[in-house]
Amino acid sequence: MSSLRELQAGFRAALLDEAEARVVSEIIDDGLGASARLAVYRHHVFTSLTDALGTTYPVVCRLVDRRFFGWLADRYVRAHPPASPCLFEYGGELAAFLAAFPACAHLPWLADVARLEWAINGAQHAPGATPLLADIWRSLDADGLAALTVQVDRSVTLLESPWPVDAIWRANQAGADGAVDLVAGAVRLEVRRIDDDIVLRALPAGSFALRAALAAGRTLQEAVDRALLAEPALNLAREIRALLDDGMLVLPG
């Protein structure tokens, strides 16, 4: 008999890779064979994880249709089993997986739709935070202000795509007709949770660059430099005011 650790590794291989040889000999074969018994467990693992992926990626699922989604989810689960029992955290590699998945090569925007749905999922489950007030900034001199790194609300994702993924997403919500003008072109999106609502909005190049740099942990000076590079005529005072008014910047913690 193998050790418990070996048995569990063998069980995993039997469920995910259909490599049953290591565990079949450990299972009592009474009436129903060991393979049929293992299949009961395997069926639940795959259907429940496919459901979890479908919950996080409903638009991707609708775009490829449910049967195809079931097949690609099966491939995905084998390649990327969950690392955590919290299934709302499962599926973070799906966009990269889709981008490299030959069967989806004819849907070049699909991976970016998945990135958008992952950002929405992240916004739904991110911890709440207390917005930073303008008063705190007044205590800093010019050098202190330039070197400041701020904590951006953790529900925020800034996402850029050559495809109109926000329009694709909206066109595939319940009741929408699915019609999208794909030549609408590139978008720069901010996704976040405000109170209990998920808010998607398109940003101009300068605002996007400023916020993306801050969210990536750049100093205020670096973020401003990038924003001005992206949009030389940017009204900086207004942009920084908007950061505070939007509650984008939060107390660390």
């Binding site: 418990l4 569990q8 069980f11 299972i27 009474d30 089993p81």
Partner: protein, 278 residues
């Protein structure tokens, strides 16, 4: 919460209705892992907690893992328990994590001395961190390991003796396991240490066909089956009144259907309590 109180598993689609209408039900139980994010779900659950006794039922701690329980996950569970102050905290006699991968099922253990040592260590560690007694639930079984040297009730009794944990007796799982693996469900219940039983679960199961043989699947997708109600009456005769919960996960019906099942369970518990009193 009193021993006669019956509750329901609270699922996301019913939360708003529970908060709005405050139905009469003894207590509510939630799956811990659904509330470990920082979004609106946990804040809404805190409002539910202010109105009802709450039980936290973990499905992912994997107390049967040979590699030990995941420290980060135990921390998240501990923070949830601190925040919600539940009346009961439970997990399963199973494993789901190996090599860092979470397999999202209550996978079976061989009932051996080695497995008992592993799970007893994991339960002791969890109880230390959580600061409370953990209840451990019998899973539904679809296979048996050749290496097992104990029956499932013997293994559970030994775990309870060794760690001081309580037992959550899922009567539907007893029925499903015995149907799939052989054995008399009443005898299974009679073998369980009655003093350790602190909660009962009831749920529906499906009857599937596997290679021309019927196999029962614990899918929590239908009303409690008649023979499981009979077995529940037997369990109450042996354990006395125990807080009992209706679980329903697949094809979730209207809240009223769950409340009806809980009321039915409550009638069984009252009858058993009257018999004990007489």
């Amino acid at each position: 919460m009193r021993p006669r109180d019956c509750g329901i598993g609270l699922r996301a689609p019913h939360v708003a209705e529970v908060l709005e209408h405050r139905p009469v039900v003894g207590w509510l139980e939630v799956h811990a892992e659904n509330y470990m994010g920082g979004g609106t779900a946990i804040r809404t659950l805190e409002r539910v907690r202010a109105e009802y006794p709450l039980s936290v039922h973990g499905v992912g701690l994997s107390i049967g893992s040979a590699e030990g329980i995941d420290t980060a996950h135990l921390e998240r569970l501990a923070r949830l328990v601190e925040r919600l102050q539940p009346v009961l905290v439970s997990e399963h006699l199973s494993w789901s994590v190996t090599g860092g991968a979470y397999l999202n099922h209550l996978l079976p253990l061989p009932y051996t001395d080695e497995a008992l040592a592993v799970i007893a260590d994991n339960v002791a560690r969890a109880q230390d961190r959580l600061g409370c007694r953990l209840l451990v639930e019998n899973p539904s079984g679809y296979l048996r390991f050749r290496g097992s040297s104990m029956s499932e009730p013997e293994f559970l009794n030994a775990l309870a003796r060794r760690t001081g944990c309580g037992l959550l007796c899922d009567v539907n799982n007893v029925y499903v396991t015995c149907a799939n693996l052989g054995g008399a469900p009443a005898a299974w219940l009679d073998a369980l240490d009655r003093a350790a039983v602190a909660e009962i679960h009831l749920a529906g199961h499906a009857v599937n066909n596997a290679d021309g043989r019927s196999i029962l699947i614990d899918d929590h997708g239908s009303p409690v089956a008649d023979p499981v109600w009979e077995l529940f009456a037997h369990a109450l005769g042996r354990f006395g009144p125990v807080p009992t919960l209706i679980e329903w996960d697949t094809d979730l019906p209207a809240l009223g259907v769950l409340l009806g099942e809980a009321a039915k369970a409550r009638a069984y518990v009252s009858k058993a309590a009257d018999v004990v009193a007489a």
